[in-house]
């Protein structure tokens, strides 16, 4: 388990992390989201013991990250930094072998991991010849060395194509099923909203909210989006009927009519719409996206 207690970190006048209390449970896939400069990477560095907290304490499995026992914990964690930079003069396999030596892991894992991230065919090529996506895959492979119990992944899908992103989350899921705790940041909220167990929203170095996506949606009480598709090209009658319902302003695009519906009015609105079924070809109800939740908590600012 990762536990942060009243953690603060300042850079001159800037409070990059400001009194953060957070518990990340063993085996969960935990997301950290926030705008650029919100304090995500500083929080990562604090959790990895790369920088010291000005106040408060960070513990992993009960071991303080700035204490002598943390070296043993480091053997069990993997880290992929944002915009990972590796050694251009080494080949993929040499990179893996170098980091394997540092971790005290046998070199036999290196080929397997390169194959797993789809770099088996390029293991002998120099990193300087790799594309951005290939470098990201290699960075991910080094994070997986030694079968870590804890994975810290900072914007891990940067530069990956859709297939790469799918493969990445498949590998991640397999590791999570083996009990690995995973902490991940991503600016592509739609990508992580279906995958994380819980997440924390950070703004100006402070945790604004922690919970599952569903719980945060509920807490914010954000309206649902109702989208109705008219049977006719002329939507005026449907619009007039919908304007009488307790919903927000209508947005019309061709046959599609969309409106925000308060959660507590959902059933009455659905009942009213079902009575107009002769004019409606299709109907969809959408939960607010993680982006809506995020904007709700951050007020549209970092």
């Amino acid at each position: 388990m990762i536990e942060l207690t009243s953690v603060c970190r300042t850079y001159g006048p800037l409070r990059a992390v400001d009194g953060v209390d957070l518990k990340i449970r063993k085996g969960e896939l935990f997301g950290l989201i926030g705008r650029n400069g919100a304090g995500k990477s500083t929080l990562f560095q604090l959790m990895l013991g790369l920088i010291a907290a000005d106040a408060g304490q960070v513990r992993i499995d009960g071991v303080p990250v700035n204490g002598p026992g943390f070296r043993a914990v480091k053997r069990t964690l993997g880290y992929l930094p944002e915009n990972v930079v590796l050694y251009d003069n080494l080949s993929g396999i040499e990179t893996m072998q170098f980091f394997a030596r540092l971790k005290g892991v046998g070199a036999s894992d290196c080929d397997r991991l390169l194959d797993q991230v789809g770099l088996g065919h390029a293991s002998g090529r120099k990193v300087r010849e790799y594309s951005k996506g290939m470098k990201q895959r290699l960075g991910f492979a080094q994070a997986l060395l030694g079968n870590p119990r804890l994975l810290f992944l900072d914007e891990p899908t940067n530069g990956l194509d859709p297939e790469g992103i799918r493969e990445f989350y498949q590998i991640l899921k397999a590791h999570q099923q083996e009990g690995t705790t995973i902490v991940i940041t991503s600016h592509i909220l739609a990508e992580i909203q279906q995958r994380v167990d819980r997440l924390a929203i950070i703004r100006s170095g402070k945790i604004q909210a922690v919970g599952s996506v569903q719980a945060l949606r509920g807490e914010m009480n954000l309206p649902l989006t109702i989208e109705v598709v008219s049977r006719d090209d002329d939507t005026s009658e449907l619009e007039a009927a919908m304007r009488r319902l307790p919903i927000g302003e209508l947005t019309v695009l061709g046959r599609h009519v969309e409106a925000q519906c308060p959660r507590d009015a959902k059933m009455s609105v659905l009942a009213a719409l079902s009575s107009m079924s002769d004019r409606i070809a299709d109907l969809q109800i959408q939960e607010p996206s993680l982006e809506d939740v995020f904007l709700g908590y951050t007020g549209g600012r970092a």
Binding site: Q45, L48, L50, R71, A72, K74, R75, L77, Y79, P81, N83, V84, V85, L86, Y87, N89, F98, F99, R101, L102, K103, G104, Q142, F152
Partner: protein, 271 residues
């Protein structure tokens, strides 16, 4: 302190220098200069070929004192700051390695590369001496090569220290050049100026200590005492008391010059 971590970092640094042909290039430079001095060093006096160990070492010392510190400083100035600037430092430190182990590993790997280049480069001259000269000459020459290796380690240590204290590669390179200027070009001039200004009276007893504060001078002293006729060829150094001009005394001084900057670098890098 975990030796295997230090060895992993040192191994990478060393192999990087082998692979980039840095070791080969520096070896060729040293070998070319050594062989040129060995054969043509006395050409101005109308002679070519090996003319004895003392003039050879005197010429090589003058060359080495300019070249080797510069090479060592260039080799080491971006050791730590380069990792920080490229963005690889945090990744390295997320592994089970602490900052002192990282620093030592980097220093040892670079020192090994520099040592290989120095030994192989000057070794070319050593082979000629082994074939053409008496055993005593070879012994003297081996002493010169060992002192050159120590000089390289000292300036590499200073470069690593500059790398730990500076926040960018650009500033670290500036500091490295300033170190070279100060120790190789300026220090002796300042000392000589002070000596002349004070008429030698104020600095008399301090003088040997002041010379110890410049590793380039320590290297010079290590190589000129013994052969009496060289004593007068090195100006300032001729006033150095002979009882201190022993490898058993000067060797530890050079080691102190290696350890002290590394200690400062470790302290700064750990903050």
């Amino acid at each position: 302190m975990n030796i295997s971590q230090i060895r992993a970092i040192a191994g990478k640094e060393f192999h990087d220098r082998i692979r980039s042909r840095w070791v080969l290039s520096v070896t060729l430079v040293f070998a070319a200069f050594t062989l040129a001095i060995l054969y043509f060093g006395a050409a101005a006096q109308g002679a070519v070929g090996y003319q004895g160990i003392q003039p050879l070492i005197a010429s090589l010392v003058s060359l080495t004192i300019y070249l080797l510190p510069l090479i060592a400083l260039i080799l080491g100035f971006d050791t730590l700051v380069g990792e920080r600037e490229r963005g690889t430092l945090n990744l390295l430190l997320s592994y089970p390695i602490n900052r002192v182990e990282l620093l030592l590993g980097k220093y040892l790997g670079l020192a090994l590369a520099l040592t290989c280049a120095t030994l192989a480069g000057f070794g070319a001259g050593g082979i000629v001496i082994l074939v053409r000269a008496p055993a005593f000459d070879w012994y003297q020459y081996a002493g010169f090569v060992i002192s050159a290796v120590l000089l390289g380690w000292v300036f590499l240590s200073l470069a690593v220290s500059a790398s730990a204290f500076c926040s960018s590669r650009a500033s670290a390179s500036g500091v490295a050049i300033a170190i070279w200027f100060f120790f190789v070009l300026v220090y002796d001039l300042l000392l000589l100026g002070a000596l002349v200004l004070t008429g030698g009276a104020a600095l008399g007893s301090m003088f040997p200590i002041l010379l110890m504060l410049n590793p380039a001078d320590v290297f010079r002293i290590l190589n000129i005492f013994g052969p009496e006729d060289l004593h007068t060829m090195f100006g300032l150094l001729s006033v150095f008391p002979a009882q201190f001009a022993e490898p058993l005394f000067l060797g530890p001084v050079m080691l102190a010059w290696i350890v002290a900057p590394l200690g400062f670098a470790a302290w700064r890098f750990n903050r």
